[in-house]
Structures are given as structure tokens and as C-alpha cells.
Symmetry: C2
Subunit: 321 residues, 2 copies
Amino acid sequence: MPRRPTSADVAREAGVSRATVSYVLNDTPHQSIPEVTRTRVRDAAARLGYAPSVAARVLRRGRSDVVLALLPDWPIGPSVGTMLTELSAALAADGLTLVAHPYDRAGRPAADIAGALGPACVVVLDALAEEQADALEAAGIALVQGLLSGPGDVERRVGRAQVEHLLERGAARLAYAWPADVRVTGFARERLAGVRAAAEEAGTGGVDVREVALDPAAAATAVAAWTSGRVGVCAYNDEVALAVLAGLRVHGARVPAGALVVGVDDVPAAALAVPALSTVAVDLGALAGHLADAVAAALGATRTGPTAAGELVRVVARATS
Amino acid sequence: MPRRPTSADVAREAGVSRATVSYVLNDTPHQSIPEVTRTRVRDAAARLGYAPSVAARVLRRGRSDVVLALLPDWPIGPSVGTMLTELSAALAADGLTLVAHPYDRAGRPAADIAGALGPACVVVLDALAEEQADALEAAGIALVQGLLSGPGDVERRVGRAQVEHLLERGAARLAYAWPADVRVTGFARERLAGVRAAAEEAGTGGVDVREVALDPAAAATAVAAWTSGRVGVCAYNDEVALAVLAGLRVHGARVPAGALVVGVDDVPAAALAVPALSTVAVDLGALAGHLADAVAAALGATRTGPTAAGELVRVVARATS
DNA sequence: CTGTTAGCGCTTTCAC
DNA sequence: GTGAAAGCGCTAACAG
């Protein structure tokens, strides 16, 4: 098996020096190389199937163009997927390549997997233990901690949006359907904080918080107190909301007459539920834009791509509210 | 800002040579270095916050330990997420680090993004254009094309499992709910092929294929012919199945008395639907194991981790069948 | 305008 | 047992 061609091979093939090859292939500015030479070099490269070595380039330049997203522990749904796609596109505009590392149940520390990759920056969706953050810093890797403490308090806004919508629709009192999955506790706490803040401002009474498991029977028990009286239920996300709906149905409760329900995420199943689920959708593109800004800032650069403005959070009103 | 410490710094700090540092930090075998020296080196490294440079290591060793998963065009749900986590764990056992690149709507070619990363191997979930595959090969990057042509024809087995289950439950004739999203056509084709093959073997008549959009009203139109007669509906996935259910409900059809429905994926919403959706679950762990085997083979290594045996595909019978 | 050259930080023979 | 030194493939000063 013939070893991969190097820039020296290309130089030999084209009858120029390695430097010229580098200049031509990188379109280095302020370098006046005649078009014929350029063509010769490019042809030679193509003929040999030359691909530059990332390792060598990174070593030489002293910086990588890779951004690593560390995915959280919890099951990633379509929202996270979409957000990553958007973020990838935003970063690509700045010449950065985004890759994601799925949560490692083996518990490989963040610094470890960053160490195997050598990214310029690490983006975490939830939050990183302090010692992990320090390890990254020591390795000269920028760190962006997202969402939770992130741009504009997205998670709290989500909670506020649920409450505002519910009250607008005539909810008499407020309840919160807390997720059974302990891995999302951090997010649930923020969203609930948003709910409580909005409830307080509106002068509503306290919020009745109950844990709702993703199982119709268990959910039925949990929602027993919400079957009537126009209680406005804020669910942690659409799945929990679907469970609330299933539970309410067991009791024969009427939605939205007796209880109103609103989820978060706008997963495909929300529109297909019966009755169709109202939900809070996050503008993933805008969120990704903010994250891209944070990455650029951490890297000491400025974004070239546009930063999306507008509301981050939007209520999709359907039949359950 | 002080520049990152190098192995030379550690050597100086510990009063040894760079070679010794390398030996100690890498636990190089067949090297008899006294424990005191080892401790001294490790302490020095810790004190300086030394982290080796991936780029330099990769350059020197001539191979990377990174495996890049190229995610498909379509919205990735929890199944893909779980599979990646499993695959990551399986590869980690072989000292490999998995990262994923989200689909880039900017259409950056696979070879491009691989070129920015320098992975040892690329795994694609769907399939790669031939010229892209060639470009990877030229760069000396191994390629594993997954799922579609992959291990044990998973997609076809999914279709077969749907049919077998439906017939067992007394379906009189078969129908297929085809997805409206063109991006998943490749997968839909395979699954439908499995359905047709199983139907033929069972001597059932032809399969009534209809495209079902993810919208109750549109779905209602599509499923008009399936409202009675114990038609067994194989849906492309759980979301399409949910749409079928929504459509059937518009017609007031009884499930499973008039029509039986089975989805694919076992998303959380499936268990919470009313009636609860029957579905085909793929053993993501086993699938990841197969993929890990393929990666190891492509890299000329042999897996150390165990290869999960057992059925790849399993029917989760709930209320709709 | 193009070529020569000096490293980037690391691993790994080979000599002491 | 430990160290000196060569070089992986590339880029960017600096000569020519």
C-alpha cells in the first residue's frame, strides 16, 4: 500500500518547491505566483490525490479549527440535533468545524476526550465541573458553557412564556409537571424558576409541582389534583406534557376545559397528539447564533456571519390551551 | 499569557530528558524506570498543567485515534443519539474517540470536514456518494457505510418484523404509511422492501402504499381507505404512525378493531399515545456493536470489547395491534 | 517571483 | 536506566 502523498511529492511532481505548493494550495495572500504555476501545482496535487495532513498543519500553525460540542447526559432529541446543525453552519462561516461527542456513559472526563482531539474550543450544553473546566484552560482550550447560564437565560424565558400563555388563556391556578428523569434536573430547575417568577409577577398563588413519569398509569396518579378548575399545567417538555395528557385522560378530565397543558420543544408528536399539544418552541437558529458568538468571543475573533435577532422563545398554541 | 507547557518543560522541571518524560507518561512497556523518577515526572507534569499536543502525537505516530460519524440529512431523533452513545462506548474500549458531525446544510463535502479533522475512520449512517468515498480513500481514511447495506440488513428486518407481528394479530390485508420527508426515502425504501418480502412469503395480497404527512388533516385524507377491514398498517416510523392514528381518529375508525398500526423506533411519545402505539424497537446497543466491529475491521484491528448477540429487532406490542 | 530553511511537539531508535 | 537526536508533514520567515 503506497503511503499518502505529501506536499513534497506534489512539489516534485509539479517541479516547484514545497513552499510554492503551500502558497498555491492555501491561496496565501500577498504572493504573486503566475497562473501557470498555480495550475501546474493544482494539477499535480489532483493527480496524486494529495490531501494535506491536518496534524502537521495544526502543529505548525499552533491552533486548531475544530470546535467540540460535548453533548449532555440526557437523551438528545430533535431539538438538540437541529441546534447542532445550525451551530455547525454558523461556525463553518468562520472557518470552524463543529463536531459533537455523545455523552460517554463510561464517564470519560471532558478534558480527556478534548485531549484526544485537540479542539480550539469546547462547547458544553449544560455545565462542566470546575476541575474539568480548569483542565481545559490549562490545555489552552477555550470553553463556552451554554444554555443554562447562557445567552438571555433561555430556560427561564421558556418557563415565563408558558405561564404568560396559560394565564392569557384563562388558567385559574398554576401547576408544574416535573420530569422523572434526574439527568435533566438542572434544566428543570431553571424552567421552574422562570415559571415561579412569572407566577409571582402575575400575583397567582403558588405553583403545584408534581413529578410526572413517562407512563400513563403513573402519570394518572400524579395529575389527580389537576383534573378540573382550569389549572394551567406547565410541563417540563413535550414528552412530560404528553404524559400529563395521558394521565388526565385516565381520569376522564377535559382538556382544555378542565385543565390547560403546555409543553416545550415542539417535537413532531406534539402536533399529532389528540388533542394537539400546545408548546413553547425555542428558536434554535437564534440560539445557535448566540452560541457561535460566544465561541468567536472565546477564540478572540469576531463573527462574520449575521447574528439573528428576534424572540428566542415562541408559543405554539394548539388544542390543549 | 504563558504558552502551553511542552514535554521539554516537564523534562526540565523534573530534571530528566524528554525521552524519559515520554516513557513515563505513556507507560511505555519494556522500559525499566525507577518508581522515584516516574513520580518525579508525573509530579512535574501535574505542577505545570502539562497536556500533550494531539497534533504532534498524531503527526509522529502517523495515525489518529479519532472516528468521525457523519450524521445524515434527516432530523436525528433519540434513536440515533442513543446509538451514537453506545458506539462511542464500544469504540472507547478500543482506545478510539468517536465524534459526530451534524449534517451541514451548507453542503460541505464529507471529505472536506474529514480533512479538517484527520480521523482514522469515517462512519456514515446512510451512504456516501462514490466520489466522496474515493476522496476519503485517497486521504488514507477508512470508511464504514452503515445501516443501509449494513450488518444483517437491519432496515429490511424492521419491515419484516412489522408484517409478522401484524399478521399474528390477525391483520387481513397490509398497508404501508410512507413518510412525506424525502430525506428518508432511502431508509423507507429498504423498510418497505422488507415489508413486501414478508408479505409475499405469507401469501398476503399486495401492499397498499400511501404517503402520510405529519399533519392530522392531511393524514386523514391519506388513510381514508384504511378505516376498516382489519388492515394492518406498517408505518415508516413512530411519528408517521402517530399521524396515521390521528388520521384514523378523524374518520372515527376503531384501533385495533378496524385497523392495526405499528411504528418503528419506540420513541417516548409512542407509549404515551392514546391508544398506546405498538412499535418495532431496534437494539441500538447491538447495532452499535456491529458498527464498532466494522470500524475495527476497517482499521485492521480486532475488537477487544464483546460483540452483542441476540435479535437486532424486537416488537413492542401495545394497544394499536 | 521562487526556493531554502528552521522549527512546531512528540515518539523512538540507538548509544552511553 | 537515561539521554541525544532524527524526523513525522507542514508553514512562514528570509534569501536569492
